[in-house]
Amino acid sequence: MTEDAIQSPPLEVAPPPPAESLLQRELRSWALALAGWFVPGLGHALQKMWGRAFVIFGAVGLLVYTGASLKGNVFASNGGDAFDTLGYVADMGTGCFYFFARFLEHTGADVSHAQGDYGTRFLATAGVLNILAALHAYEAARGRKA
């Protein structure tokens, strides 16, 4: 045994942190995805992805505001046909901004002009974009590099 080996302090090895079980990680990922759906960008913010969180919140908010201001159709749950139901699902993709859109559009939609039609597309796009962002938050929480 050399002199160096005798004088060197013993290595302190920290115990490894308890590994998160697969179930816990899956639950946490779903919770983050749900949070990201309900408040656009929150799923990323909770993972400290501030840039993405800010951009998603701003993009979805701007699309919803523009869509509602253009008097696009904010679909309700009691739609008469499959297209209304699809529109409702897309609009609900915006999470809490769905209620913001309904609040902005309290005078009702006006799709008799092209503007209203653009607005309907903006609202649906906001919802689909937010669902995409929520899925991205889910994947990031599961550890997939994104």
């Binding site: 993405r52 951009v55 993009a59 523009t66 253009l70 902005l104 005078t107 503007q115 991205h136």
Partner: protein, 64 residues
């Protein structure tokens, strides 16, 4: 921009706004490094414009 009076955008303005916002979101979601993001955002925006204007011109002969 008054929600009571309603926002007024031309088709092209709505198209530009849509392309810009979606490109920005795609860039931030799809890329991690700042330089890659900027390149992706610009490229995506450019493709939105080219495809949108291209489809517009492709429909032109059937518009009258």
């Amino acid at each position: 921009m008054n929600s009571q009076a309603g926002l007024s955008l031309t088709h092209f303005q709505a198209f530009l706004l849509f392309a810009a916002v979606i490109s920005l979101a795609f860039g931030f979601l799809g890329r991690r490094r700042p330089n890659d993001r900027i390149r992706y955002i610009l490229w995506s925006f450019f493709l939105f414009l080219v495809v949108g204007v291209g489809i517009g011109w492709a429909m032109y002969p059937f518009s009258r």
